[in-house]
């Protein structure tokens, strides 16, 4: 069931042929043609939708969501939509950077309005307005006809939702089915809590990606997530949702001892819990790197080991057939 037997990771991880995928000029040229829209067509089966979730916090959900969305657009030439349903809005800040301040100040449409179903009156408009048609929320990048778009979140998201009379968890799924069938990939960054937001993400996704850190408490969210998915399946028998895999994040330092005995113990527990739930584990791990927070901040001056993210990204995109 596992995608790998964790052991000789370092050897596979640092194989030189695949490290520079993102920077290989031949490959990049080929992808550039796709990005320019020469083969711009919606996928026959509609978008691949993945929610990134773990009911334990601090495992890298937002960073992985942001980097997969960016990698999908830049290196795979995909038409991508990223959705932030975490009220902490870290994905939004990681993709919008300084523009997130203007987004807040300008009261621009967000996931809050998607759940409300309309844009409420503002200081300059006394009447409610319809939601932006066909996904004109925030355009992060555009290459030809393909783009990376974002439906951002706000910190008052859960507050707004819970204050609604009857929050409907199928709202997001219905909104996506009406407006974003042309996308190749939809990535939903979830909050680390069991709530209506989690159920909304399940309704909107066919796939689940589970980031985990190989440390004590690593698998604390697994039973909760397993139970949460089982509850959803039993209550929504027509919905198919499966776990694509577990991605081990912040796994080791380049040149270190691969985490030492503490990581080995945590990996044992991760493998045991994953097997129990029938969840595969991705072969490529994501290393620790100071480059990741820099990328989320919008500082491209230093990537460090963050450049190796592309190895997991390629495995991920192969696993979903993109």
């Amino acid at each position: 069931m596992e995608r790998q037997k964790a052991g000789d990771l370092s050897t596979q991880f640092f194989s030189r042929d695949s490290i520079w995928i993102l920077f290989d000029p031949r490959r990049h040229k080929k992808l550039t043609c796709r990005q320019l829209g020469e083969s711009a067509m919606a996928r026959a089966g509609g978008p691949i939708t993945v929610c990134v979730i773990n009911l334990k916090g601090g495992v890298g959900k937002s960073t992985i969501s942001a980097l997969l969305a960016r990698h999908g657009h830049t290196s795979r030439g995909l038409d991508v939509l990223a959705i932030d349903i975490d009220p902490q809005a870290n994905l939004s800040q990681g993709l919008m950077h300084n523009e997130y301040r203007r987004f807040l100040a300008g009261q621009r449409p967000s996931i809050v309005e998607v759940f409300k179903g309309y844009i409420p009156p503002t200081a300059t408009s006394s009447a409610p307005k319809p939601l932006p048609p066909n996904g004109t929320f925030e355009v992060i990048a555009q290459a030809g006809t393909r783009s990376l778009q974002l439906i951002p979140s706000r910190f008052d998201f859960s507050d707004n939702l819970l204050s609604a009379v009857r929050p409907d968890p199928t709202t997001l799924a219905r909104f996506l089915s009406s407006n974003f069938q042309h996308k190749d990939l939809i990535i939903i960054d979830c909050a680390p809590t069991e709530s209506i937001l989690t159920t909304a993400a399940y309704h909107a996704s066919g796939n689940v990606l589970v980031p985990v850190k190989p440390e004590y408490f690593a698998t604390i969210g697994f039973p909760l997530l397993g139970q949460s998915l089982n509850n959803f399946r039993s209550q929504n028998r027509g919905n198919h949702i499966s776990v694509l895999g577990v991605i081990v994040n912040n796994a080791f330092y380049h040149g270190g001892n691969d985490g030492g005995p503490e990581k080995a113990q945590a990996m044992k527990e991760i493998r045991a819990e994953s097997n129990k739930n029938g969840w595969p584990i991705y072969k490529n791990e994501i290393p620790h790197s100071r480059g990741f927070p820099k990328l989320m901040r919008g500082d491209y001056s230093y990537r460090g080991n963050a450049q190796y993210f592309s190895m997991f990204a390629d495995e991920f995109f192969r696993s979903v057939g993109l």
Partner: protein, 169 residues
Amino acid sequence: MKSRKALLNELLKTLVDEWGHEEVAAALADTAISSGDSMNRRASSLQPHSSRGKRRLSATAQIERAAVEGERKEVLLQLAERYDRKQFLPSVADVREFLIMMGARPIGMKGRMDAFRVLLQSLIRLPDERLRQFVHTAQHSGPSELGPLSDAIAAAGERLPRQRQANTD
């Protein structure tokens, strides 16, 4: 402890890595002329005269010379002015990332002013609407800082109680 010369070399290397040799040399020459410092005068006299002649054009000057007209030129000029003020893609690393995100190849860029020449080839292919977005957006204005972001969140939070009050009235 590093010698003064080693320290100077290290500082210069950092500057050259960021701005390129010619831009740094030109800036040094300007500094020497304006300060009247004899040491700087000597440094500027060591610069080959040809490097002054080859001084890079600013982004604005490049747009002024480009074969574009009308509203499109106006938008590109606004963008170039922001680039010259380092409000748009403030480092060469930002330009590289931006080009990759646009599906272009970030090659032939030694310094930030070189980079604008490469960047312009991509910008010129974009529709006016997208260019205008770049003029009015802060998305490509460099790394974000948490301080101003916290202020923006606090300001947005202050609006909420009034909105809730309005909803319940």
